[in-house]
């Protein structure tokens, strides 16, 4: 299976779309860096919050695009049948495709970390209240991307049409982000950076009320187990469905 993951991963990073995405993201973040610095009352907070939040939304949409492309598009282009007749087990194909997409997550985490590092080089050290949260935010983002990939693949098994899968995931991500906004606004701690990321969790569509009502729960990372459970359930469901169904027949 490792050879499969390696083949898939090398295919993903060689895609022009991936390089284009990194380039576009760099432009957006550089723009944020220069645009926000002298205009906002709390520049350091906004310099961390806004670009990383934007980066997360863009990355999650891009991950959804890649996951739908790597799976639903295989249905559409009639290439999955061939893959299923190789000596790989179906579980290996499903998990292998997922792992190759997961391998992109550290790249995005490094990308975001580089942004924060360049921020400190340009404007000095971050205040503790924000700086201490950054690793936590990056970790949560990574978990969120993994969930987006897993959810997209699960939906792909049912829908088999990459454009439909992508539309659903875009709507889902944006709803998640906007539902979380009240939590950012009403934050009693002022750590809007944290809420900005947590609001993106897929689970937040279900527990957004809880986000607002129990800020302590969120800040202390109480949603991490919930998010992990979400990831685990979507992975298990995806594998079981992929193994059992004859959708590709």
């Amino acid at each position: 299976m490792l050879r499969f993951v390696r083949s898939e991963f090398s295919g993903l990073i060689k895609r022009p779309a991936f390089l284009m995405f990194l380039f576009l993201l760099s432009l957006v973040m550089m723009f944020q860096l220069t645009y926000n610095a002298d205009r906002l009352t709390s520049p350091m907070t906004s310099l961390v919050t806004t670009p990383l939040l934007l980066s997360n939304i863009m990355t999650s949409l891009f991950m959804a695009y890649l996951a739908s492309a790597s799976f639903a598009r295989e249905f559409e282009h009639r290439t999955l049948n061939i893959l299923l007749t190789t000596p790989l087990k179906r579980t290996e194909i499903y998990i292998g495709k997922m792992l190759s997409l997961f391998c992109l997550i550290p790249i995005m985490t490094v990308f975001n970390s580089l942004y924060v590092y360049s921020l400190t080089l340009s404007y000095g050290l971050l205040p503790d209240a924000i700086g201490n949260m950054v690793p936590y935010e990056l970790g949560l983002s990574a978990l969120y991307f993994a969930s987006i990939i897993s959810l997209t693949m699960l939906i792909s098994i049912f829908l088999r049409k990459s454009s439909t899968v992508l539309i659903i995931m875009v709507v889902f991500t944006l709803i998640s982000a906007f539902i979380g906004l009240p939590a950012v606004i009403t934050s009693p701690y002022g750590y809007s950076v944290n809420y900005g990321f947590v609001s993106l969790l897929p689970a937040s569509t279900m527990v957004s009320g809880m986000l607002v009502a129990n800020s302590y729960f969120v800040v202390e990372g109480g949603l991490v187990p919930l998010q992990l459970a979400f990831l685990l359930v979507t992975v298990i469901l995806g594998v079981l469905l992929f193994r059992r169904s004859e959708l590709w027949g």
């Binding site: 050879r3 499969f4 390696r6 083949s7 295919g11 282009h77 009639r78 290439t79 049948n81 061939i82 893959l83 299923l84 007749t85 190789t86 000596p87 790989l88 087990k89 004859e246 590709w248 027949g249």
Partner: protein, 321 residues
């Protein structure tokens, strides 16, 4: 020797309808043709053999293994009808990807890919994207991919459909090479052309039921009324045809084809020789096609329909009684 493929009482049902019903087939070394009209169940049977579908009842084994298992998949090379490709890959990248999945080492893979590309006559296009390829070239990429791990069994679903005469000829040459190398080939087709030349054994399916199986020539011999036919395509004006008909009686029929006429005669070696000689003496431009299965196919279908009419008639009588 145990058969390479064993299909025992296999049925496949889709929402109440039988796509296949009680199929029994053993396939040993050589080439085996699945023939039938659209909807006969050929593709369903092939998907069952590849483990892409599961039978409703019955058992299938591929080299003694369950279809879809890694062991069974390692011994088959599958080419599907209207197969998709990773369009932006070159044949080289495409074959490398699958070579990796089949566990070939890098050096093994390089040698194998070079050999295959040459075999399917794509070595000059090895670095062109597949998206720029014609259907015939894509089919050749597909068969090269199916051959990458040198499997024992090739399962090819409608491999000849949509190919132009040159592509068809090239593909048949590859199949003949594989057959000579001792591989088992199972191919399906609703077009009967060329199946009698490539297949040692054929099975005719209709509405999910096997209605005939055997060597094409044995089936012909046993099928009363079915006969081998020979077609001459004359690329000449109609006066040649008129003279031919006048000089040699016994021509079954002739039909107009682009740029000439097609004569069809029953299997009759002296008559065939007579016509050939006449065409050569009169310096007529012509080509020859031999159809064994076409007539067998028509015969079997007509017989089957006749049996069904009798059965319906009997059922009607039973109801009246």
């Amino acid at each position: 020797m145990a058969p390479a493929v064993r299909i025992k009482s296999v049925s496949k049902q889709y929402t109440g309808n039988y796509a296949l019903n009680g199929i029994d087939i053993d396939i040993s070394q050589g080439s085996f043709g699945l023939i039938g009209p659209n909807g006969a169940g050929k593709t369903t049977l092939i998907k069952l053999l590849c483990g892409l579908l599961r039978p409703t009842s019955g058992t299938i084994s591929i080299m003694g293994h369950r279809p879809g298992s890694p062991e069974a998949n390692a011994s088959i090379g599958y080419l599907s009808e209207n197969q998709g490709y990773y369009e932006f890959n070159t044949p080289q990248q495409y074959l490398r990807y699958f070579g990796e999945l089949y566990g070939l080492s890098r050096s093994e893979m390089d040698a194998r890919i070079a050999e295959l590309l040459k075999m399917v006559n794509l070595h000059k296009n090895a670095r062109d994207p597949i998206s720029t390829f014609s259907r015939g070239m894509r089919q050749r990429v597909g068969i090269a991919r199916a051959m990458i791990h040198d499997p024992d069994i090739y399962i090819l679903d409608e491999p000849l459909s949509g190919l132009d005469p040159i592509g068809r000829k090239e593909f048949l040459r590859i199949l003949t090479d594989l057959k000579e190398a001792g591989r088992t080939i199972l191919l399906s087709s609703h077009e009967l052309k060329d199946m009698d030349t490539i297949c040692d054994e054929i099975c005719i399916l209709r509405q999910g039921i096997k209605i005939a199986q055997g060597n094409p020539n044995t089936l012909i011999a046993g099928a009363k009324g079915a006969h081998e036919t020979l077609s001459f395509n004359l690329h000449s004006p109609s006066d040649v045809l008129a003279r031919l008909q006048q000089d040699i009686p016994g021509i079954i029929s002739f039909t107009e084809i682009p740029g000439g006429f097609q004569l069809t005669i029953a299997h009759d070696p002296p008559l065939e020789r007579k016509i050939l000689r006449w065409l050569l003496v009169n310096k007529v431009d012509f080509s020859v096609q031999k159809h064994v299965i076409d007539s067998l196919y028509s015969y079997v279908f007509e017989e089957q329909q006749a049996v069904e009419v009798v059965d319906e008639h009997k059922d009607g009588e039973m109801e009246v009684l």
